[in-house]
Symmetry: C2
Subunit: 260 residues, 2 copies
């Protein structure tokens, strides 16, 4: 990927923006940023000043600290209106939402995690996933769908990392997760059985853009009891059919979703 040498100031600029996420702080001073990234104070200032003048950072006049700017929202908005996958998958999400009145997600791989790129909320209960949020692969339905079809070397790397435990039911053991991924491949869908949040379950399916190539994953999430009922009413088969339809319509790729 990063074949040619990267431009230092751009890397540093985004490191500054990332720092807010990493430290979980909504305001940072020049000093804090400089120290956090081991930069000279005036170097940091130059970067911050540039980012501020571009609207990526904003200064709170009362305490001189900086926070993330609205320009970033605006850029994300463009992503959502331009990304081919997000755009073309959205109507299918709406359709699933109408069928079950549960929260429906679409997620794409991003590095060693997954990013929720689109969401249609249920009418009743709101699930607090954020569009754009980066999530682990091992504890989400969409994550398992994507992980299951990654090349072995990538899988190994991700599995060898520490897997955070979120609930009593999170799979944090590499061996166990491998079995789970095997099952995902055999059955053609993944579940999240209260593995990220107690009381919340989800069913997810991979969307293929080619053989063994997963473009994204879609899922239906909600209260565990409700999801169980939905599964009894054919949720899994419905998701598989939807995924196959997306593969066909959007990616011009056909496969048999094996509805057994």
């Amino acid at each position: 990927m990063a074949t040619t040498k990267n431009i230092q100031s751009i890397e540093r600029a985004f490191a500054i923006l990332d720092l807010f996420q990493q430290l979980g702080k909504n305001e940072l001073s020049v000093k804090e940023i400089a120290e956090g990234l081991h930069l000279n104070k005036s170097t940091a200032f130059g970067l911050i000043n540039t980012l501020a003048s571009l609207g990526c950072l904003e200064q709170d006049r009362s305490n001189q600290k900086y926070m993330l700017g609205l320009k970033l929202l605006s850029l994300a908005s463009t992503v959502q209106t331009q990304n081919v996958i997000i755009l073309s998958v959205h109507p299918y999400l709406e359709q699933l939402n109408h069928m079950y009145d549960e929260t429906v997600h679409c997620a794409i791989r991003n590095g060693d995690g997954v990013v929720y790129v689109d969401k249609v909320d249920a009418g009743s209960i709101h699930i607090s996933t954020q569009i754009g949020s980066q999530n682990d692969m091992h504890c989400t339905g969409v994550g398992k769908c994507i992980l299951a079809y990654l090349p072995p070397s990538t899988q190994d790397r991700i599995l060898s990392k520490h897997m955070r435990s979120m609930t009593y039911n999170t799979i944090t053991n590499a061996l166990q997760l491998r079995e789970e991924l095997d099952r995902v491949r055999r059955q053609g869908y993944a579940t999240d059985n209260e593995e990220i949040s107690v009381g919340l379950s989800c069913v997810a399916v991979p969307v293929f853009s080619g053989p063994e190539t997963v473009a994204c994953a879609i899922s239906v999430s909600g209260m565990t009891v409700r999801i169980r009922t939905a599964v009894e009413h054919g949720l899994v088969e419905n998701l598989k059919r939807t995924a196959a339809a997306i593969s066909h319509e959007v990616f011009d790729y056909d496969y048999d979703p094996r509805l057994d």
Copy 2:
């Protein structure tokens, strides 16, 4: 603002990201970017390569073109979970949404326009505003609320620009808009009477963080007939009370919303 000289490569990097929005293209080649920004081809390549390795751009392997990356979604997600205004205003939006079952927005000034920073959808009809999208001030309720309280010099600059006509009812005349802004200040609320989209109306109020200082604006939008009915049932007063409550709770600033 831009007091110190900006760092060139960072400006250029964001100019590249902006280019996708400006040209309305979801894919751009190195050549297109270089020409669009009058950069040397290999300079552009260096910038693009860096942005790609950071996840801000992604390359489509089939045609080598680049598109906006998911990293931008992730950054925006952080903005939404960290921005004090967005966070603290959200529950009030929910409350308004529950009362009228109409779409509720919160917008903040960004340069000479406004950015919708939060939205709660109506159950029935979905309005196609994008969180993060930049909008004109002259044809939106929230825009007029914000414009009405800007310092005269800023107002003049914005009013002197060309105002795009969106519908039969859009105010595109500076004199007429000044009258409208006067009314907004006197009445304490603004309306959008099918000025951006036919059939769609909205009522908006400014949220003050200090005397003559508008932090953001909130609005309730929907089909014109429904909004009219809501107004008859006290929508305006409700919005004013909500705005005053936000000013008090969030910004520790009290004023009399003059409910007459």
